[in-house]
């Protein structure tokens, strides 16, 4: 019974299926709203879903120089890691699995999905992919520093005297003391996290790695058909995961008691966050250069997060 | 006056370190290593020294009586020093042989020019 429940968790509800559906929903909303912002009619909300299924029906070509196993395995690895992350993120009152120090596990699982993209792109043997993976990696290094500081800040704020890296404890603390976003010392960290999300997902000003106009989609250049579809799905899943992580870290703490309702509110908050930190920024900015991106994250965003960490460390 | 030994050995060690750090001739660097070794050896021997002591040799009569009337220096540091000297000689031999090989290959023993591995 326990195993059946776990299988349900992993495959359906907080795991693979839910993440896929919610991610595709967010991606669709993102595209629709950005069209509206540009005074266009825009694609239907289901457009990412159509894209995904269309790609499933196309040929998957493995280039001659590519290592077949790595080339086709990479998207699947990325998909698995992303499906697992959602199990660790509590949806208000509901958590599928809770381990100790799962914040670090989440951090590394997110990294794995990036690594899957990089290794897959690298194995395709294209020079454009070479440039793309370099940029993707530098982007990862850029947002990792602020992201790490944010996680440490939250852990310190919640843990107090003893250390807590656990999502469960963060939820419990928020239930007792109100959402972390309403602690004024946490506001810089929340802002920094909002800036980390678009880089993690790879939307407009921070999509240097997949710049389709300069370097032909970077790491994805040689991917076609089903493998590409899985990568596109991964990007959509990252949207729900990152916004969901923000929700759990900074906006947790209340629950209606009914799981279904909680999930609806969760997805609604995620949608608002997507519009706030991805769609708007996407609509109003142009792509950065990679050096600028690195400098921006290691000075401005890391500075915001560090300010929060110092405030929290001073006991505020 | 054992303090003189200490000071002398410290001076030797510092001198050796100075040589290793500043002299560009590789043979001088090896000599510097040797000087450090001598300083350390001297330090060890001095630790075992007791003023007025003799060699730690018992005679059969002492052992039979069960008491020793002799006052002797600590033998252990001397054993250590012997080992250390042997090791030091090995270091020097090996370093000098390497210097010879380096000279054959690089045609110089100036430290500023023996730097193909850097960065």
């Amino acid at each position: 019974m326990e195993i059946l429940k776990s299988i349900f968790y992993i495959l359906v509800f907080p795991g693979a299926l839910f993440t896929m559906v919610a991610g595709l929903w967010l991606a669709g909303v993102d595209r629709k709203v950005i069209a509206k912002m540009q005074k266009r009619i825009g694609p239907p909300i289901l457009q990412p879903t159509y894209d995904f299924f269309k790609l499933m029906g196309k040929e998957t070509i493995v280039p001659r120089v590519a290592n077949r196993l790595v080339f086709l395995g990479a998207p699947v690895i990325g998909f698995i890691s992303l499906a697992i992350i959602m199990l660790f993120i509590p949806i208000f009152g509901f958590t599928a699995f809770s381990g100790s120090a799962d914040l670090i596990v989440i951090l590394y699982l997110i990294t794995i999905s990036g690594v899957a993209l990089i290794v897959g792109g690298s194995s395709s043997g294209s020079p454009y992919a070479g440039i793309g993976i370099s940029r993707e990696m530098v982007t990862m290094m850029s947002y990792e520093l602020p992201f790490v500081i944010i996680l440490l800040t939250v852990a310190k704020k919640v843990g107090g005297a003893d250390l807590v890296f656990s999502m469960d404890a963060i939820g419990a603390w928020q239930r007792a003391n109100g959402s972390l976003l309403f602690q004024w010392s946490m506001i810089p960290a929340a802002l920094a996290m909002l800036l980390v999300i678009p880089a993690e997902v790879g939307v407009q000003p921070f999509d240097v790695a997949e710049a389709e106009t300069e370097i032909c989609e970077g790491p994805l250049i040689e991917y076609s058909g089903a493998a590409l579809g899985v990568f596109k799905l991964n990007t959509a899943m990252k949207m729900i995961i990152m916004t969901g992580l923000f929700t759990s870290l900074f906006l947790g703490g209340f629950t209606t008691g009914i799981v279904a309702l909680d999930v609806l509110i969760f997805v609604a908050i995620c949608t608002v966050l997507t519009l706030l930190c991805m769609t708007t920024i996407h609509a109003v900015t142009a792509r950065l250069k990679i050096e600028h991106l690195f400098r921006f994250y290691w000075t401005f965003v890391a500075g915001l997060a560090m300010a929060s960490l110092i405030l929290v460390w001073c006991g505020l | 006056m054992i303090i003189v030994n200490y000071i002398a050995s410290i001076i030797l060690i510092v001198l050796g370190l100075y040589t290793v750090c500043t002299k560009k001739n590789l043979i001088k660097v090896v000599l510097g290593l040797g000087i450090i070794d001598y300083g350390v050896n001297m330090l060890i021997v001095s630790f075992g020294f007791n003023d007025g002591g003799t060699a730690p040799i018992y005679q059969m009569s002492d052992l039979l009586n069960g008491v020793s009337t002799k006052f002797f220096v600590d033998p252990v540091p001397q054993a250590l020093t012997l080992t250390s000297i042997v090791i030091g000689a090995c270091v020097d031999a090996m370093a000098l042989s390497l210097v010879i090989m380096i000279y054959r290959k690089y045609k110089t023993i100036n430290a500023d020019e023996v730097r193909r591995l850097n960065g």
Partner: protein, 636 residues
């Protein structure tokens, strides 16, 4: 019977070193045979000790020539194997056995193999002796033998570029380190009048006098040289690069572990200084600087083995930081990471060796596209790279996961902000490690195959077997971390924190109690980052994921297509319509976007790593001075 095993294992290696020199000079096979038999028997003897020491908790002590302590004063040289020693001994025997296996295929084109195996056995024996001895002067002698053998092996391929130079620098810095250690030991002898570590520990339990503090500083600096902590790291990069790869693996797998072992033994057992704030902070800072400097230097390298060398330095930084915390969690994490480092860095060096052997170069600018020619090596490399970057489910993740927690717990407990910086440093360095391995992956294994490497073949099986074993161990110790913790890490950490048993085993029961040695009670560090059920169901998700990809192939023509026919343009890589042959771009300088932001830093670093032996010596002297000064100024 059991108490003879440690000394037999060491002596067998030394003895066979001479036998190889006598009988193996003429024939390659004889030399290999003798060396492998000795290594296997020695490894077997050490493995036989797992049950009594790790599981039953015995401590094996052995007095050379049966010179047991007289009137509670240790006279002879004692060998003593507690769980900490055995933990490192296991790493050592595993490393040299696999290295010996690898050497069969790797060294077969070299001449004078008799000498090679002599030195190899000397090195193995000395490190094995170092981790199992109970006598501090014996420790020094073993350190010296280790240095000689390493230097000679570094220069073994003396025809190759830089081998002599690397060996010379290694010798200079290494013997300076040995001199520091010897001075420290001399001071310690002046203070305690004994050379037995157990007895010194019980004498120093009352508190450290200035002499003992000076000795402590010098010995830590000495072992810092052996573990290539930051100001002493310079010869390591050179030596690892130019040594034969089987020896590079030994260096990173056991020689710098010997330095780490020495540090742990000194800090935790001989001086009992792990609860002193100064020592903790100083070493944590040294460790953090080490990991950061190592990884940033690695990002700038264009040479495969040199890059791995800098990563070795960086990973040792993790170990030193974790060990310096003085908590059971930190020690567990540090020991675990030391073990994992042996496994994954050994694996990575072996893949580098396979590339060097099969292709003839390890220059990242001249390689590319080997994954089609060497698929097994590529997979092994990816496992190693994943492990060193700390990606789950490999072992690097498990140990780094403990280390982060340990450092941050320490930060929260002590309220010192410096530990927070260390935590951030550790986490960010992990990503940079990943970045530099992405660079290697792109530059060596993926990308376009070069014309001149068309005929490259996969490495022979005798070279692949150690790689498979290590890749398997990397994965297994990451998945079954609980098992590793229970049977290896917990006993070792326990042995380091509870020393009265160690002293009693050597000096007779009740000795420690008389000396009022304080023990720390250790709870077993329980850790779980996810439960096994997830592992079970993971395969379900894997299946679904694979099914998703296959879904497109349900019809005849929408399937996964691949072809190796060069006339079919469909399978070319897309290069704006150009022919594939024009699309060759090197991957060795992948991170200019990162490096252009760090121009000043890299300029400074290049000035420091000048390659001049005097500069390196000065850095070592300054490092030692800083360590000793820190201890004197702040230690209460």
């Amino acid at each position: 019977m059991m108490q003879h095993f440690p000394v037999l294992a060491v002596m067998l290696l030394f003895l066979s070193a001479f036998i190889v020199e006598i009988f193996g000079a003429k024939s390659k096979a004889v030399a290999q045979g003798i060396a492998m038999i000795a290594a296997t028997v020695s490894a077997g003897l050490i493995y036989a000790l797992i049950k009594p020491v790790m599981i039953d908790g015995q401590i094996i002590s052995y007095w050379m020539g049966n010179w047991a302590p007289v009137e509670e004063y240790a006279i002879g040289i004692g060998y003593e194997v507690d769980a900490l020693s055995l933990f490192f001994a296991l790493l050592v025997v595993t490393t040299f056995w696999l290295s010996g296996l690898y050497s069969i295929g790797y060294m077969n084109k070299d001449h004078h193999l008799g000498h090679y195996y002599t030195l190899y056995l000397m090195l193995s024996g000395s490190v094995l002796g170092l981790v199992m001895t109970g006598d501090i002067f014996n420790l020094f002698v073993m350190v010296e033998i280790m240095t000689f053998a390493s230097v000679a092996l570094t220069a073994f391929r003396n025809f190759s570029e830089g081998a002599l130079e690397g060996a010379f620098k290694y010798l200079v810095i290494g013997s300076m380190g040995s001199s520091f250690t010897l001075t420290g030991i001399a001071l310690l002898y002046a203070e305690c009048h004994t050379l037995n570590m157990a007895q010194i520990a019980s004498i120093l339990a009352g508190g450290l006098s200035p002499t003992a503090i000076a000795a402590f500083g010098l010995i830590i600096a000495g072992f810092g040289v052996k573990s290539y902590m930051v100001p002493f790291h310079t010869p390591a990069a050179d030596a690892y690069t130019v040594a034969p790869t089987s020896i590079s693996m030994i260096f990173s797998g056991m020689v710098n572990k010997a330095g780490v072992y020495g540090m742990i033994r000194m800090i935790y057992i001989v001086f009992r200084a792990m609860d002193k704030g100064t020592v903790q902070q100083m070493l944590a800072i040294f460790g953090a600087v080490t990991m950061f400097l190592g990884v940033t230097m690695a990002l700038a390298q264009h040479e495969f083995k040199r890059l791995l060398a800098f990563h070795s330095i960086s990973q040792i930084g993790y170990v030193i930081t974790a060990v310096s915390l003085g908590s059971a969690l930190g020690l567990t994490g540090g020991l675990f990471h030391a073990m994992n480092h042996t496994l994954f860095k050994g694996l990575l060096f072996l893949t580098a060796g396979a590339v060097l052997k099969q292709v003839g170069t390890t220059n990242l600018d001249k390689l590319g596209g080997l994954s089609k020619r060497m698929p097994h090596t590529t997979i092994c490399f990816l496992v190693g790279a994943g492990a060193i970057s700390g990606l789950p489910p490999f072992n690097g993740f498990a140990s780094k996961w403990i280390i982060y927690q340990a450092i941050y717990t320490k930060a929260v407990e002590s309220g010192k902000f410096v530990y927070v910086l260390c935590t951030i440093c550790a986490l960010v360095v992990s990503v940079m490690t990943l970045a530099s391995f992405i660079k290697v992956t792109q530059a060596v294994f993926f990308g376009q195959l070069r014309k001149e490497h068309e005929n490259v073949t996969e490495a022979p099986f005798s070279m692949r077997l150690p790689m498979y074993i290590m890749a398997l161990l990397c994965t297994a110790s990451g998945v079954f971390y609980d098992f590793v913790n229970k049977y290896l890490l917990h006993p070792a950490a326990n042995a380091a924190l509870n020393i009265s048993k160690y002293i009693d085993a050597m000096m007779g029961p009740g000795y420690a109690a008389n000396a009022r040695v304080s023990d720390m009670s250790v709870e077993p560090v329980a850790f779980s980052y996810w439960n096994p059920i997830i592992w079970l169901v993971l395969f379900g998700v894997l299946f679904i994921g694979a099914a998703l990809v296959i879904l497109g192939g349900r019809n005849e023509r929408g399937q996964i297509l691949s072809s190796s026919d060069p006339s079919q343009a469909k399978y070319d890589t897309f290069f704006s319509g150009e022919k594939e042959m024009y699309s060759q771009v090197g991957g060795s300088d992948l991170f200019w976007g990162f490096k252009s932001n760090w121009k000043g830093y890299y300029k400074f670093m290049e000035a420091i790593h000048s390659g001049i032996v005097n500069d390196y010596a000065s850095m070592a002297v300054v490092g030692t001075a800083v360590i000793c000064l820190c201890m004197f100024l702040f230690m209460r």
